[in-house]
């Protein structure tokens, strides 16, 4: 393997390019129209256009991407996460074109990508699953039939898309009366997001934690699990803060959970990187939720507590190498790590998307800080894709140490020109329950609900005074030649500024 095509964009494309560089491999980027000047294009050795900005016409075009791989002479393809990462047709198309797909086999993607088939695989491996419907519920199934299945499982329950992921096509149903509406919404969301309107039902576990286990499997029959990740801090079923290890997982639960995860992966002959998600009950019992057949967004926290470069290992496994890692050390965290996913969304305004040009950027540095980002000063956040612009990761000897470093890093982080979720993380990190580790998957929605109308930032009159002073000093000291482009100020006080500067 000499040249790797990265079939993705944004921070994860940058992450994979860096792994390639670390291994002396050439990196080939692809880009859509609006991504011509994106960071992954700038950092790659080669870059090829694949079409217009809409994902369907570029990053999801299997035919074009395979064609670029052929033209560029790439011998391997890394799919990143999202886009085609869990598309079995893409993995198969790579194989058919003689390319190494850096990920699991198309068969494993198909099997574990169906939530109902994955549940069956877990049951066969002796791993408990949340009680639910064994068969997918067809798109055309009448409400009455679904209500009958729901009756058997019991309320409250979760309605989920069979092809789902990322919280799309997922609804909580508290009572039979809510089912028809939720069913309509989930089906239509699933249909537009995944092209498949089939759903299934699952009993809702009250106050669960979302815990997941990273795995690597090689082509020689070895599957190794890693220390767990705590992913309960979610907003609308999307993870926003993750940490490793979890305060809620004792060494004994860790042993059982990681063994169960490895058993599921082994039973389906899984290779490369994958993650098994569990719900953890208050009493230490856990249930298989689903398997993600790709690299996860939050993989860096596992890297930080184990010292393993997961992307590099994905590539080594794809080359046919044996997993030579020490299994015990993967289950023994050497630090505590935490990650905040920074989105181009305005948390003070209902998390409205905030695309646009990044006018200024100050990235935190110093001990214990890592920023995996696709952003740069002057760069654009396009409207077409996921609004995550970077992942900020800190680590320390203890959870408190890692959290204190995260607070410091957040205070240094500045993204100007667009709004981001940075203030939201500063707010979470001061929350007394978060600090104590008392949370479940409903934590954010509950906290935001009880926050009422006050701003997350807590802007006091003193801060407003400082902002007023800063704005005025900025205008007063801006050289007249740049004032027009910097401030777009009404002409009369631009003129006044010129007069003043001449004095």
């Amino acid at each position: 393997m000499k040249k790797v095509l990265i079939a993705n964009r944004g921070e994860i494309a940058v992450r994979v390019i860096r792994a390639c560089r670390d291994m002396g491999l050439h990196a080939v980027a692809i880009y859509s129209e609006c991504d011509r000047a994106a960071l992954h294009v700038r950092l790659a050795d080669e870059a090829w256009p694949v079409g217009p900005s809409a994902p369907r016409e570029s990053y999801l075009r299997i035919d074009k991407i395979i064609e670029v791989a052929r033209q560029s002479g790439a011998d391997a393809v890394h799919p990143g996460y999202g886009f085609l990462a869990e598309n079995a047709d893409f993995a198969a198309a790579c194989r058919d074109a003689g390319l190494i797909f850096i990920g699991p086999s198309p068969e494993a993607i198909t099997l574990m990508g169906s939530k109902t088939a994955a549940r069956q695989a877990a049951i066969n491996a002796g791993v408990p699953v949340v009680p639910g419907s064994d068969e997918p519920i067809a798109e055309q199934a009448p409400d009455a039939e679904v209500l009958k299945v729901a009756e058997r499982i019991g309320y409250p329950l979760m309605l989920k898309a069979v092809a789902g992921g990322g919280g799309k096509g997922m609804r909580m149903v508290a009572a039979p009366a809510d089912l028809p509406g939720a069913l309509r919404a989930a089906r239509s969301e699933a249909l537009s997001a995944f092209g498949d309107g089939a759903v299934y039902l699952e009993r809702r576990i009250l106050s669960p934690r979302h815990i997941e286990v990273q795995l690597l499997g090689d082509h020689h029959g070895t599957v190794l699990p890693f220390v767990e990740r705590e992913c309960s801090i979610q907003r609308r079923h999307q993870k926003v803060v993750e940490e490793s290890p979890s305060l809620a997982v004792s060494p004994e639960v860790r042993r059982r959970m990681t063994t169960a995860a490895a058993a599921v992966a082994k039973s389906v002959g899984y290779t490369n990187a994958g993650t098994i998600e569990f719900l953890l009950d208050g009493d230490g019992s856990f249930y298989f939720l689903e398997m993600n057949t790709r690299l996860q967004v939050e993989h860096p926290i596992t890297e930080m507590v184990t010292g393993v470069d997961l992307v590099q290992w994905q590539i080594r496994i794809a080359r046919g190498e044996r997993l030579t890692l020490d299994p015990e050390s993967l289950l023994t965290p050497r630090a505590h790590a935490i990650e905040c996913r920074i989105y181009a969304e305005d948390p003070e305004n209902g998390f409205l998307p905030s695309p646009g040009r990044i006018q200024g950027l100050r990235v935190p540095q110093g001990p214990g800080v890592r920023d995996d980002s696709g952003a740069y000063q002057g760069g654009e956040v396009p409207i077409f894709y996921d609004p995550m612009i970077s992942k900020l990761i800190t680590w320390g000897d203890t959870r408190d140490h890692a959290l204190q470093r995260m607070r410091r890093a957040l205070s240094e982080y500045e993204v100007r020109g667009i709004r981001t979720t940075l203030p939201f993380f500063k707010w979470i990190l001061e929350d007394v329950d978060f600090k104590a580790g008392r949370f479940d998957t409903s934590f954010i929605d509950r906290k935001l609900g009880s926050n009422g109308a006050t701003t997350l930032q807590g802007i006091a009159p003193e801060h407003e005074d400082l902002a007023a002073i800063a704005a005025v000093v900025h205008l007063f000291t801006t050289p007249p030649a740049t004032a027009a482009t910097v401030a777009h100020v009404p002409s009369r006080w631009r003129d006044a500024g010129r007069v003043d500067a001449l004095r």
């Binding site: 500045e414 940075l422 801060h463 902002a467 007023a468 005025v472 000093v473 900025h474 777009h488 003043d500």
Partner: protein, 176 residues
Amino acid sequence: MIFEVAIADRVRTVSVVRKGALLHVALDGRMHIVDARRIDESSLSMLVQSGAEGTPVRSLDASVATQAVAGDFDVHVAGRTVPVQVRQAGSFGRQSKGGTGAHGAGPQRVTSPMPGKIVRVLVKAGDQVTARQGLVVVEAMKMENELRAARDGRVRELSVTEGQSVDAGTVLLVVE
């Protein structure tokens, strides 16, 4: 020079004069001595003394980002992002009091916070609306976002239709 700075629902009057290497900034009559150094075209390092000699000098990094509307900035200072509107002295006074944003008592100009497409218009011109009522749904970044009324009022100047593409800052309608 004298500016008016509107933040949330309050307008501050700020004057600034140069005295040697320092700036004397009077904010609503209170004096702040500022040693300002430019870092780049949008960033400053400020040493601010807000009282008599001997009071502590605060070191503050401040940066501004322009917004879609002229004279509107996001000011990044003291770990916070503060939206401000700066006008020349007297400007705010000539408008109906506070009629510049969602927080004042005047008309609310509902603008699109991002480029996107109008998927639904939920009101008609002349409709009576109540605070937090949905007005327009804008789709951007694969998400539908409902823009709501900041207060009770009547819809005036409805200037968009369903299916229309809009830029950030486009005035969609006015609630009065």
